[in-house]
Symmetry: C2
Subunit: 327 residues, 2 copies
């Protein structure tokens, strides 16, 4: 049993049992993988794959079990390499984040830019994903970091670190009736308008939906979109009143008016979710501290290592200066 054999096993499993494809991905030749898998099967004493003719059709049940442990083993090998890279002061690397469009578009740019300025050799991969898909993807694809928002609840997967608090805003064209009122609109006023908001508002457990339900008011969702830019576009087109994250309002939106959302819409928290047990590269810590200065780097490392989850400092409210400071 060698690290390479297990690496090949995982690569084949991740390539839909296509050895040729797996070989490319691990920068080796197809006969090499074929042979090493055979050697591994010989050593373990049973088949890892079921075969039909010469091609692989599935993992055997035993193979599935082996794969689970092989992945953990390879993760630890990766941890040792990450540890070593940090120790050497290695400034190159890769960082894969998975997050929503709003975070990717309005929150992360400044933080990523700052991180890249300090670590120009780091290649950052951003995977926008649907709210509900993000945590699944983090676990499945082995991404380094997820950034998601909840209205209070602590995300279940991995190590969740609260970054900042934010509120929603009501976005309307400057000439809109709601923009002329003295007071920002209440839930009752909003319920009279068709709304434009995030796709996730359609889910019955969304906080928008729950707020209207609790007030026994009807919620008219004129349309929903995955990203804030689309919401703004349709607000401009007069399709409805926008409800979106305050972070998504930028200076270029001077033709729109952002009004505070009703108190009935609860405050949200943006979290970083990290895979438990993975050693963080220095630049990952740097990025997180850029997003949330209140976080202690050592606490973070310890929490991810699984030793002790600290009482995280209370996340501050989102502030635009944060964006400007590093822009």
């Amino acid at each position: 049993m060698t690290l390479n054999q297990l690496r090949y096993l995982a690569a084949i499993a991740d390539s839909g049992l296509n050895i040729t494809l797996a070989a490319e991905r691990v920068h080796a030749t197809q006969p090499g993988l074929s042979r090493q898998i055979k050697h591994l099967e010989d050593e373990l004493g049973f088949l890892l794959f079921t075969r039909k003719g010469r091609s692989l059709t599935a993992l055997t049940q035993a193979g599935e079990h082996v794969l689970v442990h092989a992945r953990r083993l390879l993760d630890e090998a990766g941890n040792i390499r990450a540890l070593a890279a940090n120790q050497r002061g290695e400034r190159q690397g890769r960082l894969t984040l998975v997050t929503t469009h709003t975070q990717a578009r309005y929150v992360l740019p400044a933080a990523i830019a700052a991180t890249r300025r300090e670590f120009p050799g780091v290649s950052i991969r951003l995977h926008p994903s649907d709210e509900g898909e993000i945590l699944a993807r983090l676990a499945r694809e082995g991404d380094d970091l997820a950034v998601i928002s909840t209205s209070g609840a602590v995300p279940a997967a991995g190590v969740a670190v609260p970054l900042f608090r934010w509120r929603r805003v009501v976005l309307v064209p400057s000439a809109h009736v709601l923009a002329r009122r003295r007071q920002p609109p209440g839930l009752r006023q909003l319920s009279a308008w068709p709304l434009v908001s995030y796709e996730s508002s359609r889910k019955p457990e969304s906080s928008l939906r729950r707020a209207f339900d609790a007030a026994k008011l009807p919620l008219q969702l004129a349309m929903t979109a995955h990203d804030a830019d689309l919401i703004k576009t349709y607000v401009r087109a007069g399709v409805g009143v926008g409800i979106l994250a305050e972070m998504a309002v930028s200076p270029e939106d001077a033709d729109l008016r952002a009004l505070p959302a009703p108190d009935a819409l609860p405050e949200c928290i943006t979290w970083a979710v990290l895979p438990r047990g993975r050693v963080l590269r220095d630049y990952a810590v740097r990025l997180l501290r850029e997003l949330a200065a209140q976080i202690d780097a050592l606490d973070l490392r310890r929490a991810v290592a699984g030793n002790a989850e600290p009482a995280w400092p209370a996340p501050p409210a989102w502030s635009n200066p944060r964006r400007l400071r590093s822009a």
Copy 2:
């Protein structure tokens, strides 16, 4: 980075930084280890050990970190091998248990005998240890299984599986005054006598001590010992009244009388504690099911794998037939 390099690293750390000793333990030569460690250091880019002249003086801080992950990695390699051995129907192997003298002497023999009858090729290593030391040893030495008793509390480390319930008995010579009474003695009666019990009764948090404290009665511990045989010996010698586990009373003790302990002494539970995440060999499951037939093998495997801790079935009361059935 190879599995062998990490194995050597762990072996050296476990051998007090003596490479020669470590080499013997891993069945390799000393120059081989020396070289591989150097290669590993070259690849990682920093020293794993601090050196004074030619000999190793300590792990570097980075080396400590690497070691942590290396051990986890090696554990997973062991899991894959265990998985494979089970899959092959391999009937040989090793099982290291750590437990108290009473369990080792009175509870485990029948179960171990039964297991050995079914798996004659399995070598079982029994490490009697002090009550307080057991869980520490399980974590430190990487033993396979701990068997310990508590008066109710769930052991904190690893996966704890309740095996059976038991009570204490009051053990006196047949001619003793307490043996002539109609009723078994209460706490008040016992407090009039010097007692002979386990070493662990000396600790202020022991349930014996707590029972007497709660009743505001004095506890005279005439003597304490680590094992039940010694307690019996001193009871025979008239040193005092024995308080010990009901399992420790055997037919050869016909010259003694075992009386039910006062209700104020709470029932105890004997637990198996398994290192979380370790794949169990079939014979380990067999042994545990011999100790506690109510346990489902699949539940057990799943719980140890860390997937889902089931609601364990209520442990039955200890019964002597259990011992006789398999004797």
